[in-house]
């Protein structure tokens, strides 16, 4: 039986204002972020600008600055902010008993 949610580990394994990655076999990587206020977000690990790995960016507020060209991406929507245009797919994420769960269907769709 295939569940709707994927259990990827403990929330505390993601550093605050940091990110961890989840590679999807045969597809692209997912980045899971934890912000300074403890909220979790999951996005495709790819900046809409030049494909930079967002997981390696500096997380501030509910945004991440892409490490390649400093585009600021809103973690909740995946939208590039300010004058930049583009969007990274987002994946629903939730915490259950301290475990981080990401939506299986969205992960497959984003990583494809």
């Amino acid at each position: 039986m295939i569940g709707e949610w994927l259990d990827i580990g403990w929330a505390h394994e993601i550093p605050a204002r940091g990110s961890r990655t989840v590679p999807v076999e045969g597809g692209e990587e997912i980045a899971v972020f934890r912000t300074g206020d403890g909220k979790l977000f999951a996005l495709l690990n790819r900046c809409p600008h030049k494909g930079g790995p967002l997981s390696q960016g500096i997380v501030h507020g509910h945004s991440v600055a892409c490490p390649l060209h400093n585009w600021s991406i809103a973690l909740a929507t995946g939208q590039a902010q300010g004058e930049d245009k583009g969007c990274t797919p987002t994946i629903p994420v939730k915490i259950d008993g301290g475990r981080v769960l990401i939506c299986r269907a969205s992960t497959l769709k984003a990583a494809a």
Binding site: L6, I8, E13, R17, G18, V22, G27, G51, H60, P67
Partner: protein, 847 residues
Amino acid sequence: MDFQEYRAGEAQAVGAESASRSAAAPREHLVLIGNGMAGCRAIEELLARDPARYRITIFGAEPHVNYNRIMLSPVLAGEKSFDDILINGPDWYRDSGIELIAGDPVTAIDRAARTVTSRAGRTVGYDRLLIATGSDPFIIPVPGNDLPGVISFRDMKDVDAMLMAAEAGKAQGGGSAVVIGGGLLGLEAAHGLTLRGMKVTVLHLPGTLMERQLDEAAGWLLKTALEARGQTILTGADTAEIYGDGQVEGVRLKDGREIPASLVVMAVGIRPSVALARAAGLEVGRGIRVDDHMVTSDPAILAVGECVEHDGQVYGLVAPLWDMCRSLADGLTGRANPYRGSVTSTKLKVAGLDVFSAGDFSGAGAGCEDIVLRDASRGVYKRLVLQEDRIIGAVLYGDTADGSWYFDLLRKGESVAGLRESLIFGQAFASGGGQADPKAAVAALSDDAEICGCNGVSKGQVVSCIAKGARSLDAVRGACKASASCGSCTSLVESLLVLTLGDEVQTGPKTMCPCTSFTHDDVRREIVAQGMTSIPEVMQRLHWTTPDGCASCRPALNYYLLCAWPGDYVDDQQSRFVNERLHANIQKDGTYSVVPRMWGGLTSPRELRAIADVVEKYNAPMIKVTGGQRLDIFGIRKEDLPAVWADLNAAGMVSGHAYGKALRTVKTCVGSEWCRFGTQDSTGLGVRIEQMSWGSWMPHKFKIAVSGCPRNCAEATIKDFGVVCVDSGYELHVAGNGGIHVRATDLLCKVATEQEALDYCAAFIQLYREEARYLERTAPWVERVGIDHVKARIVDDGIGREALRARFLHSQSFSQEDPWAQRAAGGASEQHAHMAQFKPVSMEEMA
């Protein structure tokens, strides 16, 4: 592109308030058609003379407030945002009592009834009417010129269309665009589209790019430079057809060549927009005919800008607008100030390409002579055309610093007989001295010399604005807009501030970032004064406006705290830029490059074998010798970094810090041990300096070199700290830089012994660490504080020097621990390892 739109309805609401407020005063009603640069500038000039004289209504076709059209190129190139190029925000209209009707163009003028009617059916009466409709792009009459995907480059809507095309192209692995027209506008469009990731072909009918502004030599240099940036430039290209089925698919030339493209930008020229004026029965030639005060054939109607014809001339550049608007405003307020036409100059707004042209350079006139300077290695070409000892034309490529001086001489028609011999070498040289002193050059400019071409501000206006109390760059920008647009005249404005105010200039109270109102220097001072020891504490006590800062301030605060409290402060990894967090250099594909330290550039068979083994074991696709005499291994994945480091550690190598705001490398030549010219052991000294200084975090990267003799093979005079060995000792040089702005070092002093060279080096590094702002290299830092300050602290003050050296060594006692070894031993594994891996049951699910 995200900008505020003003629908006609909202604009009316804004205006209604001001209309009722002014209803009591029986003022004449001035209606402006065209909310562009010329029209609004005219209104500004008018308000500056007599703010109460007219009630003003502005109709604009575009749904925005007024913006600086010539700055659309930087917006397309991603260097500016739309907000950056706004000239007047909604406040200006409101505060000036102007009713703005944006997004609703005027479609008819009834001169007999003195009314205008808009597309939405609004009819408004006028006492005076000002037409500033600008110009329309010329669309070449070829089949397919109306296909979707064919656009011009005229307004914000066109920029949006280009950005969308670039975005759509990205999804298909990079789109293709054709720009028809290799003039100023076409090349700026091509540049912007190239930066946005499109493959761009420029089609230009004449044989020379920008043939109206450049001669053949400069045109060729420009073409070569643009081709080097990846553009395809086809000159002599005659468009036959734009083809496509319901959408542009490409351009076919008359010689049969086809260039596929999903976007065609038509930039072959502009035509004055005169349809409205012609329909109203005004006298129209190439443009709307006006007199010297911009009055048309109907005395109640004026016209200004690109839509007018004055004395047989039409203008398509921005500079004439400023003169026209002054004459217009004087005329409207009852003062005589006839407009006499303009001489124009041109600058290309393409980053890194300096092109300037002014006047006549065809060289065809009788008695014309040319002065030409070519410097092939610098890519500089300068040509002045003289007639009877006066400059009548100038073309500058690669070095345009003297453009404003030549243009000033040209406009005034001054005799240059006395300067003839040295004229081409520029103002600083021609005015004697030979040493370029930018301040003297600015001081020598006349009051009406143009400082800011984007906003039409003269030297006299900047100076008077400073005299009225603007004491900083920001204040000048706010008061008269000089240098507020493209910023290329910033240094001129700063020089004027210094000339006018001397020491009273408030230099750049630039705040650290938008999260705070404090400057770098304020924050640093308070960290020490208040004993603050963590980033959250600094943000709390200094009233940060964001919860946890931004990508600019966090790395800076982390550094300032690290520098203030060595050994006590716990480095915040999440406030480090990725390279410093992963101790390797991120590359465009998300992999990393790894540079092991090679002390003084020395290596050994064992090290080379270990590097070769790593390259093979991890299939590194490339290995390269760096400019700093190290080896750079490319293409390592973040998961593999700890294992790579473990292998390199095993051969005795440690982190090379090629990724850090830190001591990078000490480059050396072979010195007295081998070289027949060597005077001292430059290699040995280099190794000892590197052993002393490696691992130290700094405001920015820091490069050192040691040369064994004045032949200077290690290029020590473009390093942050350079040692040049001589027979009698060691010359110590500081604050050099390769990079974008090459700067040779300043000589700090000469010392007799190797130990002194080491001590002075340590003291200099510590002074830089404590006083420079984050991301400020030594070169701009020393230019800011002055080499005399550095000499006073390092050379003249022996006790101070020793204290600096001691503080540096104390700090080093905590920082010389190999970060690679810590990671190789499993430290901070969360930075490298994946959190989990997901293997879908079947691949089909991914479709």
